[in-house]
């Protein structure tokens, strides 16, 4: 309901992938926090990143533009970005933008893990 935003990062013990779990409204500030977390993971060498939006049901276009920066960074390292638990509105928006051509979308975090690890 309010505009507070929190983020958690979970790393695969074997270092194959990392999950960024968001909580709250993804506006400019929320987007920036996701961006920072992703850039840190990329700097640490992660090439497979999952963003779990289960607890973020509201996003604005400024927040989304940060996600594009992450995709740009991941393309440079030939990494794979995946999203899971998108609301129908967010999925519709990502599709309209063409974002789903550069990042995979999965129902659950588990599906996303299997997805980013496939043909690895």
């Amino acid at each position: 309901m309010n505009s507070s935003f929190a983020i958690a990062v979970r790393k695969d013990p074997q270092g194959r992938f990392a999950v960024v779990i968001t909580d709250g409204y993804i506006n400019n500030l929320g987007g920036e926090k996701i961006g920072e977390a992703a850039h840190r993971l990329i700097a640490e060498g992660y090439t497979r990143i999952i963003i779990n939006l289960e607890k973020s049901t509201v996003i604005n276009s400024i927040g989304i533009s940060v996600l594009i920066e992450i995709i740009e960074k991941m393309e440079e390292t030939h990494g794979r970005l995946a999203f899971c638990h998108l609301t129908r509105t967010i999925q519709k928006t990502f599709t309209m933008m063409g974002l789903v051509q550069y990042a995979s979308v999965f129902e659950t975090e588990n599906d996303a893990v299997l997805g980013v690890l496939a043909d690895a």
Binding site: M1, N2, S3, Y25, N27, T57, V58, I59, N60, S61, I62, I64, S65, V66, I68, E69, I71, E72, E75, T87, R88, T89, K92, T93, M96, M97, G98, L99, Q101, Y102
Partner: protein, 147 residues
Amino acid sequence: MYHAEEPREVSLTIPIVPNMEMAATHTAEAVLRLMRFSSDQIDEVKHALIEACINAFEHSESREGNVYIKFFIDREQLTLTIQDFGAGFETDCVPRPSLVRKLAGSEPKRGWGLVMMESLMDDVHIDSGPQGTRIVMIKKRLEETAE
């Protein structure tokens, strides 16, 4: 109980303050739920409304400092207007965003607000000029909920 036949209007005026678009989405959610729009439709309206509000916040340069929102609901549809008394803009001069160009670094990452509104609403009309900007957006009721 509410009868969809009677048109209803709700007005909300919010000051240009960061995150104040949340007041608009919460009002929208409560009003549209009472007016029996579906959850998915409400969610789409909320996201379109956020984009219109943050545009007014970011770009309008309104001295008077408010955004005026009206929900007009009748049997067929919601008509939502978002108005500011800012500087306005040339609607014809806004380039369509392209993800390919954005990823190639040849255009800024931003610039998705207007296309989001268009994609989430059934109709979007923008009136903008030196007197400010007024966006009129329409969301039609789904067949089942209109009954």
